[in-house]
Amino acid sequence: MVTANRTWDGVVIYRTAAHGWSAELAGAAIVRTSDEARALLAEAVADDVGAVGAYIAPVEIKNSGAIKPGNLREHIRSEGLTIGPSVPA
């Protein structure tokens, strides 16, 4: 998948198959080859007004078909802080 931050507010976003952006990982376009990934990234980077800092990131596809972040960094970006309830919401 390809992820970035939304330019105006910095929110984490994912490139969709419909050539747009989703704030949900579930909406991300999943690609399986490096050529597909590069093409998706090129499309994302071209949207310089809408998104900033686009890059290719790994995902894990569960048996159920659910998409999960492929590493801890993406897990934190997708699910939020791991530092517990002591941080004010």
């Binding site: 330019t7 507010d9 910095g10 800092g53 934190i76 530092i83 002591s86």
Partner: protein, 551 residues
């Protein structure tokens, strides 16, 4: 407090207008991210994992109550209700929206605060001792000179595009609370044999990938020559500092590669050209800056007032007083450290409500002044000792009276992988777990002074190299590991810590730290031998044996 003049106010307001226009052009697509990136960085705006991060400068760690309320307002209105105080006397907001940043900057400008040069390859926020002006035995208030440096370096055209970032720190006390030996330039105010006030100038300190302790380049530079000497250093760095490799671009690498003698010679030659120039600080200029600092009119008060005698019967108050209250240069007054290290909490964070209440308490008990220390705690610098019991109750009510200042749970930590795009591993959850392990204040008192510093990557924002115990997060095959060093220190006897053994997994860090502390308790020569002194005396080996024998 320093009162900004019209020039300062105009400069800040013009900067807000300029950035407002830049943001507008970025959001409309007139500026690409490549074009905009340097502009936002020059205003302290980074892109982090979840959002933009906004870093605001608190020059030499001094805030008025009005300014602290301004910081609280930004946290509440534009962020998620809290801010994070950093190891360089800045505050960072983690959830700021780019579209709202110009308004946030404008609101801060109203209280004389800005974010200029909190990022980018320029001279950063000038930091100093958080006890400046009130510490007993201080040569003089180092903030006078910090302010002169702030004015000199702000938007300095020659030094706005240095090879890499550049950090100053100044102290005027024998005990260094400003960590000057791990800064690009460290300045120690002292008097020479003739009784003249000047600076020992240290250069080339820094942490990160290649840590170095700063070396003395000149034992004494008279105050009048401070700017010309600093300019000579910056010129030599600007000319010879490497721009081809970001990892070798800091002045510490140049000093290391040239050698301190050769570097000093280059600086001396440059200095001779500019020493007696417009940069010479006329006493009237210094006096003008000095006159813009206002100082409290202290009362004549007893050292041991009745209120304090009465409160001494409360063991909780007494524990806090012994831990968090420090001597003041004026009899009857005290410096009070406010711990931003609650048990189980993220180090250095403060909510908008806490900031507002602290501002109110500063008005009531500290002549409206607050200080920010590099240890990520706050301080009230002018508290009458008679007010300590009532102040303690108020601080305790908002959770900033944990009696753990300088103890094992007073942990310095960077934001780590929970926030930072550079991080390889998490810092804050490690700190939280450690504070829970050492939550018992009796145990912490028994252990004594012990600084734990945690960084989530080699950039070392948590200053792990100079922690008595340093913890560095690294990533191996997608998993978080932590390298642990012991014996570092950031004070006047600054040293880099030594690696104790192989890196350990995330879930093992707290156990290893507990083992290190237990080893210390068993190995120390006497109860008042500090952890760092035991390591100095015995070296790493006895600790390594005890900690890794069963692993």
């Amino acid at each position: 407090m320093y009162a900004y003049d019209e020039l300062d106010r105009t400069l800040i307001n013009e900067r807000v207008s300029e950035f407002r226009d830049q943001v507008k052009r970025r959001l409309s697509g007139e500026l690409t991210e490549d074009e905009f990136k340097m502009l936002r960085l020059q205003n302290g705006v980074y892109l982090q994992l979840h959002a933009y991060m906004f870093r605001v400068a608190i020059p030499y760690g001094t805030l008025s109550s009005k300014q602290l309320r301004g910081l609280a307002h930004v946290a509440r209105r534009y962020d998620r209700g809290y801010g994070h105080f950093t190891t360089r006397q800045n505050i960072q907001y983690n959830w700021i929206k780019l579209a709202e940043l110009p308004d946030a900057l404008a609101d801060l400008a109203e209280v004389g605060i800005h974010s200029m040069q909190t990022s980018g390859n320029n001279t950063r926020n000038v930091t100093s001792d958080q006890w400046a002006g009130v510490a007993p035995g201080e040569i003089e208030d180092p903030r006078i000179w910090s302010e002169l440096l702030r004015q000199y370096t702000t938007l300095h055209p020659e030094f706005s595009f240095l090879p890499r970032k550049f950090k100053f720190a100044i102290t005027a006390s024998a005990h260094d609370r400003a960590a000057i030996k791990v800064h690009d330039i460290g300045l120690r105010l002292h008097k020479n044999a003739e009784g003249e006030t000047g600076f020992e100038v240290l250069v080339g300190g820094g942490l990160g990938r290649t840590p170095f302790i700063a070396k003395t380049i000149k034992p004494f530079v008279p105050g009048r020559d401070l700017l010309s000497y600093v300019e000579a250093i910056l010129r030599v760095y600007n000319q010879y500092g490497r721009r081809d490799n970001i990892y070798k671009a800091r002045i510490k690498i140049l000093v290391h590669e040239l050698g301190i003698e050769k570097f000093a010679q280059e600086v001396e030659e440059e200095w001779l050209q500019i020493r007696d120039s417009a940069l010479t600080l006329d006493e009237s200029v210094v006096e003008e800056v000095r006159s813009r600092f206002s100082y409290p009119v202290y009362e004549k008060l007893p050292h041991l007032p009745d209120e304090l005698k009465k409160a001494a019967h409360d063991p909780l108050f007494e524990r806090w007083r012994r831990n968090s209250v420090f001597p003041h240069k004026v009899p009857g007054y005290a410096i009070v450290t406010l711990s931003l290290k609650p048990i189980g909490g993220p180090p250095g964070d403060a909510t908008a409500e806490q900031m507002d209440t602290i501002a109110d308490l500063a008005d009531k008990y500290s002549f409206g002044e607050i200080r920010v220390g590099h240890e990520q705690n706050l301080a009230l610098p002018h508290v009458a000792r008679r007010d300590l019991p009532v102040l303690w109750k108020a601080l305790d009510k908002i959770g900033v009276a944990t009696p753990n200042v300088n103890l094992v749970s007073d942990i310095i930590a960077c934001p780590g992988l929970d926030y930072c795009s550079l991080a390889n591993a998490r810092s804050i959850p490690i700190a939280q777990e450690l504070t829970r392990r050492f939550a018992n204040h009796d145990t912490a008192d028994l252990i004594g002074r012990l600084h734990i510093n945690i960084s989530g990557c080699i950039n070392a924002c948590g200053h792990h190299h100079v922690g008595h115990i340093g913890i560095l997060g690294v990533e191996k095959n997608g998993e978080e590991f932590y390298q642990i060093t012991i014996g570092g220190r950031a004070d006047e006897n600054a040293e880099l810590g030594a690696l104790i053994g192989p890196a350990v997994k995330y879930g093992e860090v707290a156990d290893v730290i507990e083992d290190i502390v237990e080893a210390y308790l068993a190995l120390r020569a006497r109860p008042d031998e500090l952890f760092v002194d035991t390591v100095k005396r015995l070296g790493v080996e006895p600790f390594r044996e005890r900690v890794y024998a069963t692993r």
